[in-house]
């Protein structure tokens, strides 16, 4: 720490993958430095070369086809030219890495103790087993694993996702590295857990004087944790500088676009809608009546929010629904009951959007499946347009399926890879009795245009499309039957920030045009606020708070909602830091008590 030399210095790094179609330049002339004890954020969307860069820093490209030129220095050691042996001595010792998916990055068949001790002894061959064990316990304690002395003998599957990420971090700390490289360390985690892990990384950096490189697709994740930020696009750093300057006065248009796309929790639904509509008018004023959409004439004017809808019957009425699952286990494999949803009620009116927020395991997906009647509620009642559909048979439900459709989370697995886009969308029409093939084709093509794709995409297969385009296809598939209700289950959580923004915009436009009613399920608080009129916050199968979205966000009545809002990543570096200090203070108080 005493030295003023940077611990990591990257100069004109180029990583090239030779392919059949010529060289792909994954990283093209990247330079940055991390001072000892400093923190650098690398931000970019998928394909920007940020993960390739982090692998290159660890020298993990050895043995692959990648060609690396330029220089990478880690703790004074040149990574590009180092011998394998020197490289191994550096890994884990000078620079440790934390990966994206904690569920996959620990060996499932060894105890965490075994894996931690191994990490220490490989670099300290003279250390005894007892010393290494003691160190592992300390390290686990340091990252906040409760009862480390006992837990050291547990296997990875006995920990939750957040705890596993702590274990991976503890493993990284075993040899007191000079830099910790964290590649999307919180992308797979819930909001509150994400905040905890980011807080931990920040704390370790300040307490241990360790450098930190934080790689993420989300500017808001790095904002509060780093001093300097590099924004990457197509393998090139488009902008680099102090995090406060970059976020406050971005110079490059790409950074500006990226910043604009980050969903902001302080932006209300009304503001966002006004913004979107203004932009749309401007755009469509210029393009004169492009894409006339005859088969889908707007069925309703943009829904007047709230006031007159309270008198009519709700489109959907959910009364005290609950879902029980049997969990096998116990003596002689007896099943025990697990209530995924424990009695939830709400009304949903035409043209309205209900947002359901919750962390994993809160029961939000189970609830939406019951509403869709993909699951039969164990208890309670679901009414659609005044008809009780709680226990309807599949045959009786079929005509109603027209009116409710679903858009799923993962656009990569929710489309059949062997069915063309046109067939995927058109099948629903055929199932519902349309026999005229040309008519189906025309309708599908019109709809493809409406969701922002080309009519000649009709015969292509899903693999030819990006994640955002696939989600558009999924939306078209849901729309083709002109449904009244669309349930979106985490529709944008698998997408990059800018794609996310485009898809949200599309959903909002479609709602305006067709008077759609949405149930929007997501874990991202900011996203939910911007699309929802009302919000239900779920936890452990129960709704802890429900109400008008602005009031829930501005004056939350439950502790849990406050906790969630407090944990949401914030774009303003100073605000993020003060929120972090607040959380730390609260926690210290709790441990002191």
């Amino acid at each position: 720490m005493a030295s003023t030399e940077p611990v990591v210095r990257v100069d004109d790094l180029r990583v090239t993958f030779p392919t059949m179609d010529g060289d792909v330049h994954a990283v093209n002339g990247l330079s940055f430095e991390v001072p000892a004890g400093g923190a650098l954020g690398i931000v970019g969307e998928s394909g920007s070369g940020k993960s390739v860069t982090s692998l290159a820093l660890m020298g993990l490209h050895r043995g692959s086809r990648a060609r690396i030129t330029g220089s990478i220095e880690v703790a004074g050691q040149d990574v590009v030219s180092a011998s394998d042996r020197k490289l191994r001595r550096m890994r884990g010792n000078d620079i440790a890495m934390v990966f994206q998916d904690p569920m996959q990055s620990l060996h499932p068949q060894y105890t965490i103790g075994n894996q931690l001790i191994e990490a220490y002894r490989i670099h300290n061959p003279k250390a005894t087993k007892a010393e290494a064990h003691k160190r592992a316990v300390e390290s686990l304690d340091r990252v906040g694993i409760p009862h480390p002395q006992k837990r050291i003998n547990s296997y990875p599957h006995e920990f939750s996702g957040g705890m596993r990420q702590r274990v991976v971090i503890a493993m990284g700390l075993m040899c007191d590295p000079k830099v910790l490289l964290a590649d999307e360390p919180t992308t797979a985690l819930d909001v509150t857990v994400q905040a905890q892990v980011l807080d931990l990384l920040d704390e370790l950096r300040t307490d241990l004087g360790m450098g930190l490189i934080l790689v993420s697709h989300d500017l808001a994740v790095v904002a509060g944790s780093v001093d300097e930020v590099v924004v990457m696009r197509h393998g090139v750093a488009v902008e680099r500088g102090d995090v406060r300057t970059v976020l406050a006065e971005p110079e490059h248009p790409y950074t500006r676009a990226l910043l604009a796309a980050v969903p902001r929790v302080e932006l209300s639904r009304a503001q966002r809608r006004a913004q979107d509509r203004a932009e749309r008018d401007k755009r469509e004023g210029r393009v004169t009546e492009a894409g006339e959409f005859s088969a889908f004439t707007p069925t309703a004017t943009p829904a007047a929010t709230g006031t007159d809808s309270s008198e009519e019957t709700p489109l959907l009425r959910v009364e005290d629904v609950a879902q029980r699952f049997g969990v096998r286990g116990g003596v002689w494999g007896r099943t025990t009951d697990f209530w995924a949803v424990k009695g939830v009620s709400f009304d949903l009116f035409r043209g309205e959007t209900l947002g359901i927020v919750g962390e994993s395991g809160s029961g939000k997906s189970t609830l939406s499946r019951m509403v869709m009647r993909l699951l039969e509620p164990t208890r309670g009642r679901v009414e659609f347009e005044g008809r009780d559909i709680t226990h309807m048979s599949e045959r009786e439900l079929r005509p109603l399926r027209r009116d409710m459709q679903m858009v799923f989370q993962n656009p990569y697995s929710s489309l059949n890879p062997r069915v063309t886009v046109g067939d995927a969308i058109g099948t629903a029409l055929r199932v519902q009795g349309e026999r005229d093939g040309r008519k189906v084709r025309r309708q599908v093509q019109e709809l493809l245009e409406r969701v922002g794709l080309e009519p000649d995409h009709y015969n292509r297969f899903p693999h030819a499309f990006s994640g955002g385009q696939r989600q558009r296809i999924a939306i078209a598939r849901a729309l083709i039957l002109k449904p009244k209700l669309i349930i979106c289950d985490e529709p944008v959580s698998a997408l990059d920030v800018s794609t996310q923004d485009q898809v949200l915009r599309l959903l909002s436009e479609l709602q305006d045009d067709f008077g759609l009613t949405y149930i929007f399920v997501a874990h991202d608080l900011a996203v939910v606020r911007q699309v929802s009129d009302r919000v239900a916050v779920m936890r452990a199968g129960e709704v802890v708070e429900m109400g008008d979205s602005d009031s829930v966000y501005e004056e939350p009545s439950s502790d849990y909602t406050r906790q969630l809002l407090n944990a949401a990543p914030v774009l303003d570096p100073d605000e993020a830091r003060s929120l972090r200090a607040e959380r730390r203070e609260k926690r210290d108080k709790k441990t002191a008590a």
């Binding site: 001595r89 890994r91 010792n93 990966f99 060996h107 499932p108 068949q109 991976v168």
Partner: protein
């Protein structure tokens, strides 16, 4: 954990009971459905060309005219408590577990099976050791050096190995290694306890022949499994720790690769223990497989039934061993207990 063991044991016993019932059904009930009379059945059991009186006597002795349920009870009782067979004045005791009485050889089946078991067991275990070590070693090397000359050669050989039947490779080995170049002795089976060196010399070729077929299959599976494991995130973690490639392969990648292989290995060993018919026949080893072939050719039904049951027992037992071993190999299975 204890719960898991008890459950597995229970399942094993249940499976044995089911196998017994099915075997009985095939040998006693199915022929009757096909229209064979009790006397016809008796003829199958007596063998040779019997007089009508002898047939009637056999029908009565075996209870072939009894209702099926009674026959099954008698069969199970024989298995559990033993049975007696009377021939005129002579009475033969068939102690429990009585697998039946062969009229061709005039002796109970089980002792004969047990007599031949050492031969088959020598063959099975010897070959199994060779094929598991050889197959896994080649598979691991192939995966690590994917695309190399070694990999292509090994996988080519493995393809040949999987494709060639034992009576071909076995006879080829006999013709050249034993008869033409006289590298191995022409000899009958010698028990291990009598002369270990001779035992080894006799068994070596059968082992290699039987192992070749299996090793080829194991090499292919190990390679595929290893390649998949090497793509896992936790292997990247291991490399990022600074571990040597050798440690990454042998500590981190090998164990998950072997876990599914152990399952097939258990089944294969059980199968071969029940009689490696082709290998035993080609190399004139007087094991269980050869015994079964003789019985089938000589229509000695009690022996066929006995061999079938014994083979089933071996497979069930080996499977049980694998099941009990599994939680040791993969800790994630343990919570299920």
């Amino acid at each position: 954990m204890l719960n898991y063991i008890l459950r597995r044991l229970g399942a094993g016993l249940l499976l044995l009971a089911v196998v017994t019932a099915v075997t009985f059904w095939i040998f006693y009930v199915l022929p009757r459905w096909a229209g064979v009379t009790p006397r016809g059945m008796a003829a199958m059991y007596v063998g040779k060309a019997p007089t009508p009186e002898a047939l009637d006597a056999t029908v009565e002795r075996l209870g072939l005219d009894q209702p099926v349920a009674m026959q099954f009870l008698e069969f199970v009782r024989g298995l559990l408590l033993g049975q007696e067979f009377t021939f005129g004045r002579e009475t033969v005791e068939c102690a429990a577990p009585c697998l039946g009485y062969s009229f061709t050889t005039n002796s109970p089946v089980l002792p004969q099976l047990l007599d031949r078991l050492p031969v088959t067991a020598s063959l099975a275990f010897g070959a199994a050791i060779i094929w598991i070590i050889g197959g896994v070693a080649v598979g691991v090397l192939s995966a690590v050096k994917k695309g190399s000359f070694f990999d292509r050669l090994a996988m080519g050989t493995a393809l040949v190995g999987v494709s060639m039947p034992i009576y071909f490779t076995g006879l080829l080995a006999l013709a050249f290694l034993v008869h033409k170049w006289e590298l191995f002795p022409v000899s009958r089976y010698v028990p291990l306890s009598e002369d270990p060196v001779a035992w080894f010399q006799v068994m070596f070729l059968p082992w290699v022949t039987l192992a070749f077929l299996h090793a080829a299959q194991y090499a292919r599976q190990t390679r595929a499994g290893m390649l998949e494991v090497l793509g896992e995130d936790y292997i990247r973690t291991a490399r990022a720790k600074g571990l040597s490639e050798r440690r990454v392969i042998f500590k981190h990648a090998l164990r998950p690769t072997l876990t599914p292989i152990v399952t097939i290995f258990g089944l294969d060993v059980g199968l071969v223990l029940g009689g490696a018919i082709l290998t035993e026949t080609v190399f004139s080893l007087n094991g269980i497989g050869a015994y079964a072939i003789d019985a089938i050719v000589g229509k000695d039904l009690p022996v066929v039934l006995g061999v079938t049951l014994m083979g089933a027992v071996f497979i069930v037992v080996c499977n049980l061993v694998v099941d009990l071993l599994y939680p040791v190999l993969d800790p994630r299975v343990r919570i299920a207990g």
